[in-house]
């Protein structure tokens, strides 16, 4: 999962736990599927199964939104779709800009799921002058110089960063300065933002590494390898300043995704 930045002390206002907010889109997706099949009501058990969670957890989640269920029957699908949509702020239009139209940025721009949920790609922005004017997913790419103008003219509050790692912080700063207060970051960097700005990150490399950890653990349990008796590979060796070079193909990946 893309993880948010340092958790704030939980959502203050109406006090909906962060963990619950993260699951609401899951419920919404399952409910939408039911709605399309014209299913009128659904029990917490069924819906929980569809969303892949515990039914008690689902009921508690819904309890934060209010008492929208009917005991002995379940939840009214259409009503719940509306309530969750409203709670998530999907009943309004969210203009979004995507910065960095490389492989990934282009794939995101072509993603059809934006429009279906209140998100609208207001502009595509790239630093390469050669890209300017070139249409991607039917939208002409604009140059970075116009970033501030675009943000203000369209009232954009959500920005997607799909640039190389080296450019991400700078782009982020400009987005924030222009008024963006929510950022979805695909670049493999830790972004620093002022209070009041939310950052969520999606990082392919991290996800793979987490999988590798568990994969290794599975393999190790079988063979008894990797156990407490693995060879200590040489202590710090605080002597010569060896191992200095190492070109490192990482650190500033040219175009696409998390490193």
């Amino acid at each position: 999962m893309a993880t948010g930045r340092t958790h704030r002390p939980a959502t203050r206002s109406r006090g909906i736990p962060e963990a619950t907010v993260a699951r609401l889109p899951l419920y919404l997706r399952a409910l939408t599927a039911l709605s399309e099949r014209s299913v009128p009501t659904v029990s917490s058990e069924e819906l929980a199964a569809a969303a892949g969670v515990n039914s008690a957890k689902l009921r508690k989640d819904f309890s934060y939104l209010g008492s929208y269920g009917t005991r002995g029957v379940g939840y009214d699908v259409e009503y719940l779709v509306y309530q969750i949509s409203r709670e998530l702020g999907l009943t309004q239009d969210w203009p979004v800009v995507i910065v960095g139209i490389g492989n990934l940025g282009a794939a995101l721009a072509n993603y059809g799921g934006f429009a279906s949920r209140g998100f609208r790609v207001a502009a595509l922005i790239d630093a390469d002058p050669a890209m300017a004017g070139k249409p991607v997913a039917g939208i002409p790419v604009q140059h970075t110089d116009e970033l501030e103008q675009i943000i203000r003219d369209n009232g954009v509050s959500i920005g997607v960063i799909a640039t190389p790692a080296g450019a991400a912080q700078q782009v982020c700063d400009r987005l924030v300065a222009a008024g963006v207060t929510s950022i979805l970051n695909f670049a493999p960097t830790v972004l620093t933002v002022p209070d009041g700005v939310d950052v969520r990150k999606v990082d392919l490399s991290i996800e793979l590494q987490i999988l590798a950890f568990h994969e290794q653990r599975k393999a190790g349990e079988e063979t008894g390898q990797t156990g407490p008796g693995s060879t200590p590979p040489a202590p710090p060796a605080r002597s010569a300043g060896v191992a200095a070079e190492r070109k490192g193909p990482d650190g500033d990946v040219p175009a696409v995704m998390p490193a």
Copy 2:
């Protein structure tokens, strides 16, 4: 963040907390950057700042791996890079297959960060016969029919699913049956897998919806809107079976990403 599936009772064997494992790649990235700059040692304070976490948290995380620091000095960068790499299983080669070579799948295939960390794209697989043989990122796409063969021949244990939602579960089942035990899912569906198989998901739509929630909350706090006095939009109305149709552009997105 892409979230894992139902947490197991924490990592049993050596007892490294799941939350710690998720941060190790972050530390590793920061350490690699330091290593490339030939920085010999780093304090928990500095490294924590670079990784965007609390220093106490970082020290506790490292304490699960062992006592690799020197009091009064800090941590030996090279040594720590090695230890974390080993712990994450990055000292070995992980062949990976990508299934579903649409916009996103192609972008992932072109991602240069795979090779740099022990991950190697062993094959690209797509259901479209027209794609077969066509090279993407220098690798010829193979047809789904050969999936099992490819998995077994290459000893693949990690699979990436970038297919439309409708095909994801079926692809997943085949991957698992063929021996894959870790899956990174980009399709907007809840995958059901047997015990012992790890699934992590990356879902653009969910991330955006979470941002929208916070965004709405910020706006609501300013104007006092969305407060406890919002208009109740009509109770369940459990009468006519209205609201039946609604084509729904969702549910089976053609090619790219989470819906």
